[in-house]
């Protein structure tokens, strides 16, 4: 997902189309493929999501052993290199038993929507496995997809393309924030000055380059662009990930990816089902949406005078905000504040 030459663009499109056809063979319909340009204007803050990915394998889970999953697809090489990381997403739940009061007897686990980065894999027909960072809990027979993850270098370029503000110091360069344990961590591209160049932690300009820093699964990026430069466009190509996004979060801030290619509204999104809902912003989880560089906070009012529904954090008794649009290409800054930590983004119009 980065903009380079037109040759690269068309080559990517061609590859995406081919892999889409190949991986769609087990599906009743083709996956949604396409191109989405995500603009990141200079001199403002942007919440950026990665709406399209390159799916390299799909199939069903054949075994579960801790964090190692047997898969029906045949892997032929390493898919966990630093420069080209991958993740696995569970896209269905084969055995529905044990879920909810009306479920039939028996038990099964639900990993539907869970995603984790792949740290190791085995290859071969009938012997392919993947080992993940976090132990997912699928059932044998659940469907999965394996897709490429982005790094700072693959997403923005190393060096970044025209328009981007690279500099000797984080104080004058564009900043890319990733969330890490509830805290936002800044990176910048160091293009001059004493010491080595490349993507650096803002707090370690003299440190080693971290070009291969992974944008974790389920996550987008928070970009703070300086006044110089010009609008920077990320061209996202590939296919849309199927199924809901079921993300692990902790107290604090998380930059949630919006992986969907169609707009939906807050009220239709279903996000509220995974949030803590209080009578006011102070007792609720909060999501922030970015529009033209301005972050606006919303919470789902679940009790108290004035009814229930989505509200501005600044106006608990104000008008319902359920009609606010979640735009493709825009990430969601989520603040886990109350209750059980969790965040789920159901697939629009599919669940």
């Amino acid at each position: 997902m980065k903009r380079t030459s037109s040759f690269f663009y068309f080559a990517t499109l061609a590859f995406a189309s081919l892999s889409s056809v190949a991986s769609a063979q087990n599906l009743p319909v083709s996956r949604t493929a396409g191109v989405i340009d995500v603009s990141i204007p200079n001199n403002q803050t942007s919440l950026v999501s990665i709406p399209l990915v390159n799916i390299v394998a799909s199939g069903t889970i054949t075994s579960v052993s801790g964090s190692t999953l047997g898969i029906s697809a045949t892997l032929t090489g390493s898919i966990s290199t630093a420069a080209l990381p991958h993740a696995i997403k569970i896209t269905s739940r084969d055995d529905q038993r044990g879920a909810g009061a009306n479920a039939p007897a028996g038990s099964s686990t639900s990993a539907y929507g869970q995603t984790s980065q792949i740290t190791a894999n085995a290859t071969g027909a009938g012997t392919s496995t993947v080992t993940t960072t976090a132990a997912l809990t699928p059932n044998v027979g659940d469907e999965f997809v394996i897709f490429e993850l982005e790094t700072l270098a693959t997403l923005f370029g190393a060096p970044p393309g025209a328009g981007w503000n690279s500099a000797s110091s984080a104080g004058s360069a564009d900043l890319v924030y990733l969330d890490n344990a509830g805290v936002l961590t800044a990176y910048f591209y160091r293009s001059s000055g004493a010491g080595s160049l490349g993507w650096k932690l803002a707090t370690a300009a003299s440190g080693a380059a971290v070009n291969n820093t992974v944008i974790p699964p389920n996550r987008g990026v928070y970009v703070q662009r300086r006044a110089g430069g010009s609008a920077f466009v990320l061209r996202s190509t590939g296919v849309a990930l199927p199924g809901r996004e079921q993300a692990s979060v902790v107290a604090g801030f998380s930059i949630m990816n919006n992986p969907f290619t169609v707009s939906t509204t807050l009220v239709a999104s279903g996000i509220q089902d995974s949030l803590s809902k209080g009578s006011g912003a102070g007792s609720s989880d909060i999501i922030y949406l970015e529009n033209a560089g301005v972050l606006t906070g919303y919470f789902f009012k679940g009790s108290g005078a004035g009814g229930t529904g989505w509200r501005l954090t600044t106006a608990a008794s104000g008008a319902d905000q359920g009609g606010i649009v979640l735009t493709p290409g825009k990430a969601i800054l989520y603040q886990e504040r109350q209750g059980t930590a969790g965040f789920a983004l159901p697939e629009p119009f599919a669940e």
Binding site: A167, S168, S169, A170, G171, S172, Y177, L184, A186, S192, G193, A194, G195, A202, T203, A204, A205, S206, Y222, Q224, R226, A227, F253, Y288, L295, G297, L333, Q335
Partner: protein
């Protein structure tokens, strides 16, 4: 009575709010040299904060370290060797400071609680000034530079998700000292130079001098 207690309780809660933040600062674009423009600044002090007097007063009082010190609100500082990037003359610091309602020399960091509005008379939203000295003790310094960052301000404590402040000499404006006029000391660019602190007479010597002048004047009149 109950209402009064509630208000006091609210005020106490508001003013006890302290947000930890980090100032990320370096001079990796150029490095510092002394006034000769060739010798790298090997040790000293960099202070970060704001001046509560105008830039023109800072410039006109550049030789009066006591005046500058009195009117400086230090939020964070570093003293020691300047060897960032493994080169003399450079610093690279991540300095933790308290935001929110914390007072710095009587000036509150952020007066707009629960809002990112930039209000007057606080530090948040103000330009970040860097005061570099060739000695850890202000009064003992013989060379100094005062720059402000033209692209960054002290971050408001209520900025969503991000509290860090950034300082870069790459986008700085010099009030004292000069930018990019020294030798290249490793950044592949000219260094920033400190300026010599002009000597000002001590008060007792100044009084003695005045008395001497008065005596001379008196003697000439009598003659």
């Amino acid at each position: 009575m109950k209402k009064t207690l509630l208000i006091i309780s609210f005020l106490a809660a508001s003013f006890s709010s302290v947000t930890a933040a980090t100032l990320i600062a370096d001079n990796g674009d150029s490095g510092f040299t002394l006034a000769d423009g060739a010798t790298a600044l090997s040790s000293g002090r960099v202070r970060f904060g704001i001046f509560v007097v105008s830039d023109s007063l800072v410039i006109s009082n550049a030789s009066n370290l006591s005046y500058l010190d009195t009117n400086f609100r230090e939020v964070a500082s570093y003293s020691g060797a300047f060897n960032g990037f493994a080169l003399p003359g450079f610093f690279e610091q991540n300095l933790t400071y308290a935001g929110g309602s914390t007072l710095y020399g009587g000036t509150q960091y952020d007066l707009s609680s629960a809002s990112t509005s930039n209000v007057a008379n606080d530090i948040a939203g103000s330009k970040i000034y860097m005061w570099a000295l060739d000695n850890a003790v202000v009064a003992n310094a013989t060379q100094q530079a005062i720059f402000f960052d033209n692209g960054n301000v002290w971050t408001d404590s209520d900025t969503v998700g991000v509290q860090d402040s950034f300082f870069s000499t790459a986008g700085a404006v010099a009030l004292v000292g000069s930018l990019g006029t020294g030798a290249d000391i490793g950044a592949n660019a000219p260094s920033h130079r400190l300026a010599t602190v002009a000597a000002i007479p001590e008060p007792s010597r100044a009084v003695l001098g005045l008395l001497g002048l008065g005596a001379l004047f008196f003697r000439r009149r009598r003659a």
